[in-house]
């Protein structure tokens, strides 16, 4: 499996300047440049430094999904939280990256469900719209998603493992987690999700004055992951049976 050949370097390690040499070997040049700092640099980079790191274009590095599966999921995510005149959406936030990583960890049990239902979705699109999902127009893609969500695709014979609505619900929920969750997990790149909902960021405390600034709409986003704070260790939430897990996330 891919992980066997690859040093596991977390984003947090990069931010801490730990294992920077290993990172240089596997990451695109722009990221290496931003993070190849000597040991002993501050554990929490200044927001400006982080912004340049987080805004690096993401290359897709799949660990669990196949390329075709990832294409379809990304196309769905692009309709759920689109990139539009309001700003970037789920794709730009790296929700796919979050999901792909989680399918090797906490969501390992859902891997098969994705495989089977993505195959069913493909059959459903060809049966009902004459083309695979990624080739449909945005309007047709939305109408397929509405079929999925409302459950009308369930009895189509396409082979959804349960109701199509349950599959839609799972995918939507993981898209939301990947867009609005802590960037530690590989999504919410550049804090796109938190900016969208105007969440001013993870803080260790909020004084009465900060609260008043928040209420006046003047509390500026601080752009930090929980794990940018040096005091926290990443204890993991384990599932009762985490079959096939390669990630501790």
């Amino acid at each position: 499996m891919a992980d066997d050949q690859r040093p596991v370097i977390s984003r947090r390690d990069l931010l801490k300047g730990v294992g920077a040499a290993g990172a240089a070997a596997i990451l695109p040049p722009a990221i290496s440049k931003a993070s190849a700092q000597a040991p002993g640099v501050p554990a929490v980079p200044a927001p400006a430094a982080r912004a340049s790191l987080a805004s690096v274009p993401r290359s897709r590095r799949l660990e669990n999904l196949t390329a075709d599966e990832a294409d379809v999921i990304e196309a769905i995510m692009a309709r759920l939280i689109p990139s539009d005149e309001m700003g970037p959406g789920a794709v730009e936030a790296g929700a796919l990256n979050f999901l792909d990583r989680a399918l090797g960890g906490f969501l390992a049990e859902e891997r098969e469900e994705y495989r089977d239902n993505l195959a069913a979705l493909d059959r459903y699109c060809r049966m009902s719209r004459g083309a695979p999902f990624v080739e449909l127009s945005p309007v047709d893609q939305d109408s397929v998603l509405i079929d999925l969500e409302g459950g009308s695709a369930t009895g189509s014979g396409a082979g959804f493992t349960g109701s199509s609505g349950a599959f839609f619900g799972m995918l939507k929920s993981h898209t939301w987690q990947g867009t609005f969750g802590d960037p530690y997990y590989g999504g919410n790149a550049d804090f796109i999700g938190w900016d969208l909902i105007r969440y001013p960021g993870v803080r260790l405390g909020v004084s009465q004055a900060d609260q008043e600034r928040l209420e006046a709409g003047e509390l500026q986003p601080n752009r930090r992951s929980a794990y940018d704070y040096e005091m926290f260790e990443k204890a993991t939430a384990l599932r009762s049976s985490q079959r096939g897990a390669t990630h501790g996330d």
Partner: protein, 569 residues
């Protein structure tokens, strides 16, 4: 082969909210105590403000026990049985107080006297059909000194409403008289809370800040709450949220007379031929141990207290420990906390850095604080408007029919409204009924092969009527505060697996209908004490933990003061 350990005075099963408190008065009285805890110690470094881990997935635990023993659930014997995937309680030293909401209510005087007060004011016909509710064997006054002790020992913040009969309108005018004020002032209010309080006053109601086991200023060597917004199912990185793990357990350890054994998974209570407890059996990894003790205190959660008793069968107790009277598992109920009301406001509520214990309470419609003459139920609900918001859950919030749930239109909606919705948390009087009970599931087992517990329970007409009445009041309140949309949840049906689970080892003088006596010791086995919500016969309309802890202190003190008679010397 099980290893037989040296005997101790008292073994406590569970170092959580109840057991962790009981240990202190016991060691202070000179007794040797062993505290068995299935989990491990966790520290502030484990308590990252991480919504995916803490709220979406599961709490960080080195040991998963409760999650592997989740009870099965069915509404009644004719309905289908299901088993939830996870359990809200956790295993660690300090138990679920590590990540709970930390609301620290005393029960109101009425909660101790539901039967006699209802009968006196409205007649006995007003007691709901099929209920097995009894008066507690004592009243509020008996528990007051223990409430007071725990509030000061662990540290509770709040605004008193009745000190020695002197009503203070800033606090809860309906509370029982307290000897003195809280050791700390209440958690602060935001502008939104002030608005809700003003709206309540406009309706003629009495708003006040709720009590919390959370420091609001330096107390006991720990600082005050810093309001970071991840308190709900989150540990406190500054230890402002207190529990036995930060207070009573460390103090008890200092005496040298408490030993905490972590990763100890208790599987049974042993008995002698007379039916007295002789100690407990537990497993650490694959090793089994027998811990003999003169007194056993059962202090795991309600479900596990009942399960351990039912699992511990012997010649003397063929149907489970202290269950020859058939009362273990009876009089079960879980708090009706459902039937929520949600509201949308046309302004941001500033809730990102709030916590569930920070809010505005209304007690005017709880218990018997209002006239029920023309109503078709007894009891009521406490209305609670808190601050609690995190990014993923905010983005998952309902749109009140004003927007689709995804797409560009939704993006515009959530950009404007992520901080504008509010959901009420209304706890309601819930009663025990003949047909609601706990027993062992005939099919489902835990990883060690023991049966899991089965919950057979549903809310009855009285609970549903309160739910509807409470929703009406909440809707009035929201409208008065300027809400532009309201959504109401269903009234409830099956009692699911709950963090507010009561009964199963009810406390009372009548041994025909109760498992433990007025001090918490089993009628059938006088050296077995039970601590926790499982001894409570009524719920009130508020969180149980402080009552559980006051009762635990009282049971421990009684044991220390009556050691010779209880151990039979």
């Amino acid at each position: 082969m099980a290893t037989r350990l040296p005997a101790t005075d008292v073994v406590i099963v569970g170092m959580g909210a109840a057991g962790g408190v009981a240990a202190l008065p016991l060691v202070d009285a000179g007794l040797e105590v062993i505290g068995l805890e299935a989990g491990t110690w966790l520290t502030a470094r484990d308590f990252a403000p991480d919504e995916i881990r803490n709220n979406v997935r599961s709490w960080p635990m080195a040991v998963q026990k409760a999650n592997l023993e989740v009870p099965t659930v069915r509404a009644n014997p004719n309905s289908s049985t299901s088993r939830p995937g996870s359990h809200p309680m956790m295993n660690a030293v300090g138990g679920t107080t590590l990540h709970y909401w930390a609301q620290a209510w005393r029960l109101n005087p009425w909660d101790f006297k539901v039967v006699s007060d209802t009968t006196r004011r409205y007649g006995s016909t007003r007691l709901p059909e099929g209920t097995t509710v009894e008066d507690w064997p004592f009243g509020y006054d008996e528990l007051e000194p223990y409430y007071d002790r725990v509030e000061h020992e662990i540290g509770v913040s709040g605004q008193a409403g009745n000190v020695d009969g002197q009503i203070d309108s800033r606090g809860n005018r309906f509370e029982g008289p307290r000897k003195r004020a809280f050791p700390m002032p209440p958690l602060r209010w935001t502008a939104f809370h002030e608005r809700m309080a003003d709206a309540a006053r406009g309706l003629g109601w009495n708003p006040f800040p709720g009590p919390a086991t959370i420091n609001t200023e330096a107390y006991d060597g720990r600082g005050g709450c810093v309001y970071h917004g991840f308190c709900n199912t989150g540990g406190c990185h500054v230890n402002a949220k207190a529990g036995p793990h930060t207070t009573t357990i460390p103090r008890a350890l200092e005496t040298g007379r408490l030993t905490v054994v972590t990763r100890a998974h208790v599987v049974g209570i042993d008995t002698d031929r007379d039916g007295r407890a002789t100690g407990v059996r537990y497993v650490v990894g694959t090793e089994e141990f027998v811990q003999p003790a003169q007194v056993v205190l059962l202090a795991s959660y309600t479900y596990e207290n009942v399960r351990l008793l039912l699992m511990s069968t012997s010649q003397v107790y063929p149907n489970g420990f202290a269950n020859n009277g058939g009362q273990v598992g009876r009089h079960y109920f879980s708090h009706h906390q459902g039937a929520p009301v949600s509201a949308l406001f046309p302004f941001d509520t500033g809730a990102w850095y709030g916590l569930p214990a920070q809010g505005v309470a209304i007690d005017d419609f709880a218990d018997d604080n209002f006239d029920h003459s023309g109503l078709d139920f007894i009891g009521g609900g406490n209305l609670w408007a808190m601050s609690d918001r995190r990014p993923i859950s905010a983005a998952n919030g309902g749109t009140f029919g004003r927007s689709p749930g995804w797409g560009s239109e939704w993006k515009r909606w959530i950009n404007q409204n992520a901080d504008r919705s509010h959901s009420s948390y209304n706890q309601k009087t819930t009663l025990p009924y003949e047909t609601n009970y706990l027993d062992l599931d005939p099919v489902e087992r835990d990883p060690l092969g023991y049966p899991v517990l089965r919950i057979t329970a549903q809310y009855k007409q009285n609970e549903l009527a309160i739910a509807e009445f409470t929703q009406d009041r909440m809707e009035e309140w929201y409208h008065a505060a300027g809400a532009i949309e309201i959504a109401r949840g269903g009234l409830g049906n099956t009692m699911g697996v709950s963090t507010h689970a009561y009964g199963g080892t009810r406390m009372g003088d009548d041994r025909e209908t109760n498992v433990v006596d007025r001090y918490g010791f089993a009628h059938e086995a006088p050296n077995l004490g039970v601590l926790g919500g499982s001894v409570m016969g009524t719920s009130g309309a508020r969180n149980p933990t402080l009552t559980v802890q006051a009762l635990a202190w009282r049971t421990a003190e009684h044991l220390a003061n009556n050691w010779r008679s209880i151990v039979g010397q």
